[in-house]
């Protein structure tokens, strides 16, 4: 296992290298001079030239890239042009928000999607199956931000059951101190249950919105994986042993069916992180997605650069974790 992990980590290197290269190239392809953006539109050409010199923008691209890599390995992603805040610090503040949201969404997707898929597979072609499958098909077909707007309209504006946006209400936010940045966790360890409830209420709509696509996809994948597994020889063997059908499904089929599902969970994390851009915008969620988006709009190059590299890396690492858990679940994998 140790070797396997090591090998997987080594395999990451070219991908991470590619990510940085791609992001670096993108930002240098964007029309417009970063120096002018930084200096504002009243700067004189001399000032711009001086800044370009200082920022190393006059160096040949490969050298710039090397310098950029050099900084990167020292976790120095530069500072925001506009606020001057170091990117890495901003990421540390914002990542928990995005991560909490994504994990909540993924949990919803797992908790609802997998049982739905199993049920649909076991009761194949029943009304239950049809309902789940049409539901999930509609789920993957909906623009999430649209669903988000509708949910806000319904639950926050009309019914006023849930807050329309933000991460925590002002009062609850005043009474507690973020420690880890994961508000659910922070409120709990501080014993502030009112604030916990408040955080939960704020999380509900964005997490639900964000979860639709993974939920739908997980239900579909689980179903097809279950159907596939249920047709396997070893299921016939399990039945031939005289096992109860429930045990056949939950012991023998489910664990095998989870293998493809787990891969999808990893991939869907990417969808979640991407979907966070839109969802966070709608719900004023102070996470990475919204930050990157604002960075793009305001041409805050270091923000975009740092943010995108971070998200891509996070995604790659999450996939790695998922793959490793796959290896735990599937004894065959380490030998492949």
């Amino acid at each position: 296992m140790g070797r396997y992990i090591f090998r997987r980590l080594l395999n990451l290197i070219p991908v991470l290298f590619g990510i940085t290269l791609l992001v670096f190239l993108f930002l240098h392809l964007i029309p417009g001079d970063p120096a002018i953006v930084m200096l504002g539109d009243r700067a004189t050409p001399d000032q711009v030239e001086a800044l370009r010199e200082r920022m190393g923008l006059n160096e040949p691209l490969p050298l710039q890239y090397l310098a950029f890599l050099g900084n990167l390995v020292r976790f120095d992603l530069g500072s925001s042009i506009f606020t001057g805040v170091p990117i890495i610090r901003e990421i540390l503040i914002r990542w928990p928000a995005t991560f909490e949201l994504s994990v909540a969404a993924m949990l919803i997707a797992l908790v609802l999607g997998i049982p739905a898929g199993v049920l649909a597979a076991v009761r194949k072609n029943s009304w239950l199956d049809n309902l789940t499958m049409s539901g999930s098909l509609i789920g993957v077909s909906m623009p999430v931000y649209w669903l988000g707007l509708l949910l806000v309209y319904l639950f926050a504006v009309n019914l006023q059951w849930l807050p329309p946006s933000g991460r925590i209400s002002v009062d609850a936010g005043l009474s507690f101190e973020p420690i880890t940045g994961f508000y659910l966790f922070d409120t709990l360890i501080q014993g502030d249950f009112a604030a916990f409830q408040d955080v939960l209420a704020h999380l509900a709509l964005p997490a639900l919105t964000l979860s639709t696509i993974p939920l739908a996809i997980l239900a579909r994948i689980t179903r097809s994986a279950m159907l596939e597994v249920l047709s396997q020889d070893y299921i016939r063997t399990a039945r031939a042993k005289g096992l109860l059908e429930l045990r056949v499904i939950f012991k023998h089929a489910l664990k095998n069916a989870m293998l493809p599902v787990i891969t999808i969970v990893g991939l869907e994390f990417g969808t979640l992180l991407g979907g966070a851009i839109l969802t966070e915008t709608i719900f004023s969620w102070p996470g990475i997605g919204k930050w990157i988006y604002e960075g793009i709009l305001s041409r805050d190059y270091p923000v975009v650069q740092g943010g995108v590299i971070f998200v891509a890396t996070a995604f790659v690492l999450i996939n790695l974790l998922v793959d490793l858990s796959y290896a735990l679940l599937d004894p065959r994998i380490q030998y492949k």
Partner: protein
């Protein structure tokens, strides 16, 4: 969880963390919904409204504005006088004022702040990554050492007095210093670290509220300054500024009671505000202009008649009525209506008349019209809360006189940058909100020397000399006369066609009182009371 409680008595200004939100959405602290997070809290280093309004709560400036107007009132400076020749301004400072960090406010502190903004060589100017305190150079001609710098020297003449020595007379100097950028910060705090004014750093002023905490992307928390020199203020103990970018979300939060008051709503939201009995609409006095700029360096637009034809072809009243309703008015002046004294009575707006416009185009040699690129802003600003459909409306109107409009936009930074890069945009939408109550701030900034890159480096000797003379002139009537002349010329030139002077829409919950919005876009919240 939200909004299910009764509007219980929340007059208590004590913050009681234990009395958590259980009961209802109403919060104990005063909560302001900002349209975005400040860039930073370092005076002089920002130009955006979101930063200014927060700084306004933390810092005092030498001179302030009378609430709701652009009239100057003493703040940290109790008195200011100009010498005969207009080249020396003497300020007498308020005594006994303390910064939030307990250090004393005095003339040295003021000099420290001004040097910071003005002097590129100043040791404690954090021009990180080559950044400038650009607003200073912009309002005062340039940095120290530059030719055009209006300021020549800062001279501390006593503990509580100092002189600003000028290179040329500048009548609007006090007003310019009063603009929201120039809060006086604690020199001690500034010297303490490079992250001054960032979320992890400090922000120390003398203002009504003390900076407590800035959670990036989420909120800034301020508390009342118990030592505030203006006795009896602030009224509320705690002020929380939360960032909600999207106007619909802001209004939704206001309706849900998680915000107490907010700004930068779109005119279309007025109906929604009026439909909610818990809310009241608040209008910011108009002090802006949204305009359509026509760049004469684009061949067809070089002829003034063509520009005038365009002005006539656009049904401004109908558009303003449609998009702003009662929140906007349109006239022929570039300066807002509150500057009536500087405007020419002779200027009446172009009459909407596509037929005449078509004729004029034909006379100018364009019987079949021409192609025109029109750039619209990608962002919402008080003067154009929703630029895109308005641009589409222009396009539709112009198509009726044969001008075929292609709409274009870019991200905001590029938009601002590229319009100044020759040859610039053929035509574009932009606007302006005054920094202080002087026409100089509107007219010089758009038609003065060096301010016309985006309209093809347009030059008019007469306008330039009038604007320069008015700067030096200290007699108000004479100045008014000069600006009126400029007003007339500009009207006929039709270079930046004023479309609207809007009243930005704000809203508050009905239990909020004594909020007096400033025409300049930012005001102190010290008097606001939450009941």
């Amino acid at each position: 969880l939200v909004n299910c409680g009764s509007p219980t008595d929340t007059t208590t200004s004590e913050v009681d963390p234990a009395a958590a939100p259980e009961g209802g959405a109403e919060t104990t602290a005063l909560v302001y919904g900002s349209g975005g997070q400040p860039v930073n809290l370092e005076p002089g280093n920002i130009t955006d409204g979101n930063s200014i309004i927060v700084q306004q709560q933390i810092y005092d400036r030498l001179i302030d504005f009378e609430p709701g107007t652009t009239d100057l009132v003493p703040s940290l400076a109790e008195e200011w006088t100009s010498s005969e020749d207009g080249l020396t301004w003497t300020f007498t400072l308020r005594e006994g004022v303390m910064f939030h960090d307990g250090t004393e406010f005095n003339a040295e502190a003021v000099a420290f702040n001004i040097n910071r903004w003005w002097d590129p060589e100043f040791e404690f100017g954090y021009r990180d990554a080559g950044r400038l305190y650009e607003i200073w150079g912009y309002l005062f001609g340039g940095e120290r050492g530059s030719e055009d710098s209006i300021l020549a020297d800062v001279v501390v003449t006593g503990d509580y007095s100092l002189d600003l020595v000028l290179n040329q007379p500048f009548a609007a100097l006090p007003a310019a210093l009063a603009s929201g950028y120039f809060g006086i910060a604690s020199p001690t705090a500034i010297q303490a670290g490079t992250d001054y004014g960032t979320p992890s750093g400090a922000a120390i002023g003398t203002g009504p509220f003390v900076f407590e905490e800035w959670r990036s992307g989420d909120r800034i928390v301020l508390s009342a300054n118990p030592e505030y020199w203006n006795e009896g203020f602030p009224v509320e103990e705690q002020l929380v500024i939360t960032f909600v970018e999207d106007p619909a979300a802001r209004l939704a939060q206001l309706r849900a009671g998680t915000l107490d008051f907010t700004v930068d709503l779109t005119p279309d939201q007025l109906a929604e505000i009026e439909g909610d009995t818990n809310l009241e609409a608040v209008y910011r006095p108009s002090f802006n202009v949204g305009y359509l700029a026509l760049n004469p360096s684009y061949e067809p637009l070089a002829t003034p008649e063509v520009r005038q034809a365009i002005a006539m072809a656009i049904n401004k009243p109908a558009i303003v009525e449609a998009f702003w309703g009662e929140l906007g008015l349109t006239d022929g002046h570039f300066t807002p209506p509150s500057m009536e004294e500087y405007q020419s009575a002779a200027v009446d707006d172009y009459e909407y008349n596509p037929d005449t416009a078509r004729q004029m185009l034909a006379d100018a040699g364009y019987p079949d019209g021409f192609e025109l690129e029109l750039w619209y802003m990608p962002v919402s600003r008080p003067y154009f809360p929703n630029p895109k459909p308005i641009a589409e409306a222009f396009a539709a109107e112009l198509s009726t006189i044969g001008i075929n409009v292609t709409l274009q936009t870019k991200d905001w930074g590029a938009y601002l940058e590229d319009r100044n890069t020759p040859p610039g945009f053929q035509s574009f939408m932009l606007g302006w909100t005054g920094d202080y109550g002087d026409p100089d701030n509107f007219l010089y900034a758009h038609f003065g020397p060096g301010a016309t890159d985006d309209i093809g480096k347009w030059e008019d000797e007469q306008v330039f000399s009038l604007l320069n003379d008015a700067r030096a002139e200290s007699d108000p009537d004479a100045r008014a006369e000069m600006y009126a002349q400029v007003d007339e010329i500009l009207f006929n030139e039709a270079l930046r066609i004023p479309i609207v002077h809007s009243q930005p829409l704000l809203a508050k919950r009905s239990n909020i009182s004594d909020w007096t919005p400033s025409p300049l876009g930012s005001e102190s919240f010290e008097a606001i009371e939450k009941s």
